[in-house]
Symmetry: C3
Subunit: 446 residues, 3 copies
């Protein structure tokens, strides 16, 4: 254990100790509890969700009143729903909110009426290509009501009149979000954000919620270098609200990730920050390369999840988006098929490990100065050369030491050295620690 | 219509209104009238050519006296020719200037003599590989005389003596060139240049002449932003002369193109300016990519047409060269086969449209500053989101707006944004106009 | 012949005059004389080697006492050996230093004893994959003794006891190295280094020794621009020692090469300097491209030969490593199979020519300013255009002149121009000389 980077080196060691499959199981268990709740960008579904998370981490729950101006936007009225159904002429409930909260157009205004089939059809949403699935639709900023149903259900509608009931409220209230901070030795922050506004949908977005929760829980057990700020916010309006109310904190954010769609069986996808070569971008690429599986790196586009707010030109934060299969690229996306079968514990566990490996680089990256810059130091007389055994290949460790010594001139970080040498960051980090212990490296004061 | 960029946005609209096939037909008609004239780097052929162009545009015709020093060069004596022929022993004209002005070595000194076949052969030029074609040859800076003829004609020469007659003059006079300026709102200029020194050759160089003429005619009907300067000059000595006599104007040139070989059926070729990444270079590449056909981008070489003078290190102007099949890369080049059959009206029309599209980018490119840089503005409440219908795909327009908002930080032009987003410049331009109208963008003052 | 670059242009001309096959033969002859000597990082084998080189060049032989502190290292005790053998129970010499000096672990301490086979085996080294070859092993910095033998010999060891004798000394003495300087017109230096510490091994490292010797001999006959410093040093400790004792000279080194493994039949390999884009790096790449054969360019790694010392961060010298098949990448490496059959005179000759071509670029590279920067100068009236005949293709020479004129703005060297134009450096150099003679270029004063 080394003083300067104690935290995450412990984590690494502890990381070997953790059993991802157990964490995967616990995340999946939490997801199962969260699944039935009807979340939206405001309302009691979000509050209950955050309260359930408080069983894991001592989350702060914030309430921002409807009508609050947040940059160009206004915090909307709060939406809540008790029940909703569609009855046929015989009085049978043929679409029932109690069976799936996706059945109601999210943010539907209250309605109780008899309507003709023709009129009803203007308020119905289906997916003809997947006739068994219920779509997920919203209408946050235009008042409307509607039902989402399977195309099969839709095709059975033959009566001339139907009874519609949406027992919802759309009234002044507040927007609710969660915030949790793991204090580190430095004030500099890593921002980790997920959205919490989707009802019964697992990959988008319960996977992000459970991963951020267990990552926060785990990090809070470690003596970390960075301060970690976790946000559990409704999409778009949540990040805009947080940024608007926390401008003084923004300058502390040095790295960040938006996490979403991390429970499916697809390969990892990383969408870079607007900067494109930020340390977080390079750290994620380094980890994905080292995992050995196929992965996709997307250039930044100002579209998709809250990254687009964090990366707006007035902030330009180094925040990337970490996913498996991206939103919109799997047919189950925003349908009832994104359920507890679509997400698996072992996939959540793998995502957890990958996120840890990324944070591990951020925690352990540093820049050093070789204290013996003229020619190589004699490693042999210090017991550093061809004497280091153990798990890692000896020649690789030697080569790593030579790389660290050669490039530690104050202008190359350990991540720079890992990239240039094509060696794994951990190997470079270990070599630097050994050299520091031998007095051959000092941290760069700059 | 938008104030700041009124000119070319009109042109775009009007561009939809123009019928390229009609312009192609008119350009071809003008080419047919110009074809018979015997042009050279000086003389009456050039004067008559420029006078014919005055039927289309109010071209200024400049005369620069022989002997004028222009940098390292001297304006040469003026060359004119009335007639020339070669007669066999029977007195039959076997080579006749009246049939093709290519038959005479361009800039031949006068000669009237009987010469032996042996002596004659030192003054004859043919193309053995294409025995039916007459080559085009010149001797501007070394006094000489000669005949160009088909290899078949050459092989029929069996008499022992021939009568040669070249009724030409090479005397102090002047170099003639044409200049036409379309005044824009700005003093900054776009230079558009073609060479006018070739006799009966269509692709090289009548295609350039007619394209520049009709482009000038068309632009002069529009309220353009840039000032456009069209030069109709003899190759090499013409550009050297113009630069030498117009040094004070050079600093106004912000973009430029040399146009040549634009009537054949080959794909477009663009040779970059010496700078390589000038706005004109990027604009041409953007247009050629958007046209969807195969095209060739050549790196700058200090060789070929007047670009080499404009890009000499003392000027280093951002001037590229726009062609279809480049000089020397088609067998008809500099032969009698580069005739009115080799060039087609529809190919001229396509070149015209491509040139317009390039100028369209120059006219409409601009840099803006997002007036709502913290987070995205709420496009929906301004009627900008999912409400824009019409010809263009709605999602593309939305994405274009998000890109423009995200990158409009004063350091990215619309062309930069088009390149980074891989969206068409016009889509980005339209998005910027909509955002400007909504008060979300302001032009960058820098 | 041109004043400014007289030296190497002569060399080029003379280079045409030299007969590489004769130089190859002479190098091979010298190698054969050096082959039997038992070299190490210190001792009489090195001294004899350097004395033999003095028959070719007036090398300075330096002695640095054991115990001298050189940066983090200490000059070791001097090692010498008279004889060594291994006798079986019958008293037969079954391993004999007199037959191959590889048989003794280099730097073995003296030993004379009877040892059991079990104990002996801890001191024996073989190559099971190549049972006929003797490996080359060293133990410079850990006192030890040992024998290297073929695996076949090893398998014949069946007696229970053996007599071992190593008649060596390891005592205070000195480290010996050679240095030879060819004075140029400039104080700026080119460093050329080879290691001299291997016993009977031809490719690694006698090939480097004989090449540096004959290159030094040849350069000393020429009026060169740069000062050339040749170092004949033991690996690692030699370069550390030289750098430590010559710090004031280091700042004069502008280019450098470490030469090794240059006699085998493999293609050329160049390992770049730490800087990666130094003039030496670009010069070598230019030469290797022009040779037309396959070659390998390796990025810098801080491993392999003395480049790692010259490129340590405290010096960061622009020193590359020029090889054929790199160390460790041929099975004969560091075995008795790296013998006089493995290296051929014609391969040494080819390496010599390549090295000359590289130095030719360093000698002749320069930056000029076009004295006629506005438009092209009229080459024809100076007899430069289409009048240059001879061996080189006329159009290439013209194009080279146009490139040199176009890019000679004070910010492009001739090597820059050669790279951008894809023309051979010599063609560019010749064009520049013609233009300079015509008064069209002046050397850039910066």
């Amino acid at each position: 254990m080394h003083a300067g980077h104690g935290g995450m080196r412990d984590m690494q060691v502890f990381g070997n100790g953790i059993r991802p499959e157990l964490i995967g199981r616990d995340m999946y268990q939490l997801m199962s509890e969260l699944y039935p709740l009807c979340r939206s960008i405001t309302g009691n579904g979000v509050r209950k969700t955050l309260q359930l998370l408080r069983h894991q981490i001592s989350l702060e729950i914030r309430e921002v009143p409807s009508g609050t101006k947040v940059y160009d936007w206004t915090v909307p009225k709060e939406w809540n729903i008790q029940d909703a159904y569609l009855k046929n002429a015989k009085g049978e409930k043929i679409v029932d909110f109690a069976k799936s909260n996706l059945h109601v157009l999210n943010y539907s205004i209250p309605v109780k009426a008899k309507v003709s089939l023709t009129e009803l059809k203007e308020h119905l949403y289906t997916i003809p290509d997947y006739p068994d699935w219920i779509p997920y639709r919203t209408s946050y900023y235009r008042e409307n009501w509607g039902f989402c149903l399977s195309h099969k259900q839709f095709q059975d509608l033959t009566d001339s009149e139907y009874e519609v009931c949406i027992d919802s409220t759309l009234e002044p209230g507040s927007l609710t979000y969660g915030e949790f901070v793991v204090k580190g030795r430095m004030e500099a922050e890593v921002l980790l954000s997920c959205h919490i506004c989707h009802p019964s949908l697992c990959n988008d977005n319960l996977s992000g919620i459970v991963l951020m929760t267990f990552l926060a829980k785990y990090l809070s057990t470690l003596p970390v270098r960075y301060t970690y700020r976790f946000l559990f916010i409704p999409g778009t309006i949540g990040s805009i609200t947080w940024l608007s109310l926390n401008e003084s904190k923004v300058s502390k954010i040095q790295h960040g990730l938006v996490a979403a769609c991390l429970g499916d069986s697809g390969n990892f996808t990383y969408k870079k920050s607007r900067r494109g070569t930020a340390e977080i971008d390079r750290s994620v690429v380094h980890v994905l390369k080292s995992l050995g599986n196929h992965f996709v790196i997307q250039e930044f586009i100002p579209f998709g999840y809250d990254q687009r707010q964090f990366c707006s030109p007035g902030f330009d934060l180094p925040v990337g988006c970490f996913m498996r299969t991206p939103h919109g690229q799997y047919p189950e996306y925003h349908t009832s098929a994104d359920d507890l079968d679509f997400v698996r514990p072992e996939q959540l566990a793998e995502s957890f490990s990958a996120l840890l490996a990324i944070l591990n680089i951020l925690e352990n990256n540093a820049t050093y100065v070789n204290q013996n810059p003229e020619c190589e130091p004699q490693l042999g007389k210090r017991g550093l050369y061809r004497t280091v055994g153990g798990q890692q290949d000896t020649r690789t460790r030697e080569l790593a030491m030579l790389w660290v010594l050669n490039l530690s001139d104050g202008s190359h970080s350990l991540l720079d050295i890992a990239e240039r040498s094509s060696l794994h960051f951990d190997v470079i980090r270990d070599a630097a620690d050994d050299l520091k212990e031998a007095g051959l490296l000092k941290e760069y004061p700059g």
